[in-house]
Subunit: 226 residues, 2 copies
DNA sequence: TTGGGGGCTTAACAAATACTTAACGTATAT
DNA sequence: ATATACGTTAAGTATTTGTTAAGCCCCCAA
């Protein structure tokens, strides 16, 4: 839950306060909005990792807001969780069909809320295009905006090539990427770099990340793991 | 929901029938198990996309089964949804901490179930989800993203040639591959290696897989069997 | 213009490891 | 029994990767 950016949307300030308090206590960065329209504006502005959206709101309701956010490139892949006062089957159906990722009903036990949001966030590791900060687990996160990674709290700015390589490798932790695939992905189809170029970049990454993060598979390629 | 492989686990056959019926109607391929232990076996065998797991079961319960499956390479990233008779906060907490992805409570409206599972399956990003794992039966699976095999829960990384050979042999379990065919497949048409080269690789594989998995056919070649 | 710095690549050599071979042992079929 | 094919082991060879330092290129500032 640390580093998560969460946007809360509800028309009751009391609910916002209650949820904000509990989520901030867990280390999340919390933003709020009071109705659907301002939620969309806010979401585009702050690019949250997760949006908690009340269904019943004056003006634009949650369902409609969700539907619209699913159209926008900035929020197309953002996790959206609905919130409602009662568990009604049709509103659940409508919510999921509008593109929701989960559904919570009030009154909320804060521990349940937090566990549930955690489970959602845990499942969403890699870049979905619009998302800026990607947590790849174990204290390592990647910031696509400024070409930096964070390792154990320390932020390290990486040169472009190194950043591209680590982004590729962490896009699927545990997978072995073949050298030739890395060449294609990073340098393009018609490769014109020497044999040792990748190795040098890998070496520099290892110096910055620690030696045990990137593992060599001789004759094949490299993989990233925690 | 089409093409989804779903494993249902519950100790009540009635529940299994009810859920199976509804999920199959949506085009899913459904497998079932009656308790935690057989669920794990089944999961390793069929490698489902999603597992619906009852919490209260005789023998190994759902929480424990989930926890164990999160340890196994075959099921580490599989979606797991818990099912329980009542909504109790701590069992939800325990469930999520065991690595669950969602939580449903009985009695289940089938439309809600389907919407919810759909939401889970839909948001699984292709590049971050499960590994490309092939189960070849009897506790042996091959991870193509990893150049590794799993034998009885233990993950073994193989050198390239060995991995290529075992991949070839397991591509058709039971079939006898002639030596010369193996040579052509792995080394190519015009590469000429000595007579004993294959034997050495086979030996190393046998050391890692167990002696009884690869059988020799004198004068012909080798075959893989369970 | 010139000099410096950072990033990227290359080259040369060292190190690691996968692959192959050779030599000999064992099993099997005719 | 003997020839033939396969098994086993250890040692050799080839290939791949690690490491380091140096060179180049581009951009920016003096």
């Amino acid at each position: 839950m640390k580093n998560a950016r969460i946007l809360l949307v509800d028309d009751e300030p009391d609910v916002l306060d209650f949820l904000s308090y509990n989520l901030r206590k867990e280390g999340s960065e919390v933003f709020t909005a009071l109705d659907g329209k301002s939620a969309i504006k806010k979401a585009i502005e702050v690019l949250p990792n997760l949006i908690v959206l009340d269904i019943m709101m004056p003006g634009m309701d949650g369902i409609e807001a969700c539907r619209r956010m699913r159209e926008l490139p900035e929020t197309k892949n953002t996790l959206i969780v609905f919130l409602t006062a009662r568990t009604e089957d049709y509103s659940q159906i409508a919510g999921f069909e509008a593109g929701a990722d989960d559904y919570l009903s009030k009154p909320l036990n804060p521990r349940v809320l937090i566990s549930r949001l955690n489970a959602l966030l845990r499942r969403r590791p890699t870049h979905t295009g619009a998302m800026n900060i990607v947590n790849v687990g174990n204290g390592i996160s990647i910031n696509n905006d400024n070409y930096s990674i964070t390792v154990g709290g320390e932020q390290i700015y990486l040169p472009k090539k190194e950043f591209e390589i680590i982004t590729l490798l962490t896009s699927k932790p545990g997978k072995v990427f073949r050298r030739e695939d890395i060449l294609h992905e990073i340098w393009g189809k018609d490769v014109v770099v020497g044999d040792r170029t990748i190795d040098v970049h890998i070496r520099k990454l290892r110096q910055k990340l620690g030696d045990d993060r990137i593992k060599t598979f001789k004759g094949i390629g490299y993989k990233f793991e925690f």
